[in-house]
Symmetry: C2
Subunit: 190 residues, 2 copies
DNA sequence: TATTCCGATAGTGAC
DNA sequence: GTCACTATCGGAATGAG
């Protein structure tokens, strides 16, 4: 597991599965059930780490975390049940690109926020927010799945759409970018 | 006569004819024979001024001027004939645009060099180096002249071509620009 | 669908 | 094709082992 050198979210890691066949397309490589199983096991761990890191980074601003923290700090007795706090794992994505450029097989593990100075154009954004991004849990792809044919990157030119509120931005990346800054502030408060 | 606020050559003046009908397209305005005649008279004067200014600015670098200057300074007697020196008027263009943007009727008077920090893109260049530029001496246009229909600026997208050596630059304005710098040095030596 | 640099292209708003 | 500003789009070079 390494940090992505050009992160596209506030947390963005890569899992590099230990296998001799790292140059295969991920859809193909993960047809190997053993590799898929071991990578999923690793992904569960990494996802947990990322969730904890998100809690550490943003928990103080989260309303849901605040309820939990208040229960702990003030010893509020609600039948002995301490609220769960925010489900940070739900904010973490794990998956591969339909047309990865790097030669080495890799799985992305990243938060949903898309806040990073390296998120510089629409293709960056769409590569994690369209069908170009395929969750590890969706592999292996069925033979007839259309995403086998997405490796030419056509979908990366789709209109931009905010992952949180669904608002459309056509091709106006700069506008999306500043909108994401606003959404980020709200997202942290969830 | 005023200086063009955004000159596209090392000398670039505008003649603003005194007429009540300054909002007409120049092709139409100069169908008025009197206006055309008086503007041509003015243009002859301005062209002469520009030529003298070019001589002052660049004459010292001109080989042709050098021959004349040598004859004068050294009193070389060539049958009493002093060489003419360079024909700077031949380096001055006088004309209008087929699709002018300014509302006020104006005639451009400028040197051929196209050397100016205000010459910033291909349309600037082509507006003086394609059929989009119509010499004052070509007016009035005959009824069937195709340039009546050039006022939509289509020709401004033509491939760029060096006015001096004819070399083509497709749409690579930056390349043309640095080439013009080189041509400028040679042109001054003529 | 690696980044980065440069430059061409496109829309806007102002004057 | 007025300018100036911003941003989008497009090609070319890049470089580790």
């Amino acid at each position: 597991m390494i940090r992505d050198k050009f992160p596209k979210s506030s947390i963005h890691l890569l899992i590099l599965p230990r296998t001799g066949r790292t140059r295969l397309h991920p859809f193909v490589a993960f047809q190997d059930g053993d590799l898929l199983a071991s990578t999923r096991a690793e992904a569960i761990k990494v996802k947990g780490m990322v969730a904890e890191e998100l809690r550490r980074m943003f928990g103080r601003e989260s309303v849901t975390e605040g309820v939990r923290r208040a229960a702990i700090e003030h010893g509020i007795d609600d039948g002995g049940v301490v609220p769960e706090g925010r489900d940070w794992e739900a904010e973490v994505m794990v998956g591969v690109h339909a047309g990865p450029s790097m030669s080495h097989l890799h799985v992305h593990v990243l938060s949903r926020d898309r806040i990073s100075p390296c998120m510089k154009h629409g293709k960056h954004y769409n590569s994690f927010n369209t069908e170009f991004f395929v969750g590890l849990e969706e592999l292996p792809l069925k033979e007839e799945d259309v995403r086998w044919r997405k490796d030419r990157g056509g979908g990366l030119r789709e209109d931009l759409e905010c992952w949180r509120c669904g608002r459309g931005f056509e091709n106006r990346f700069a506008k999306l970018k500043s909108h994401l800054d606003e959404e980020f502030e709200e997202w942290k408060k969830d």
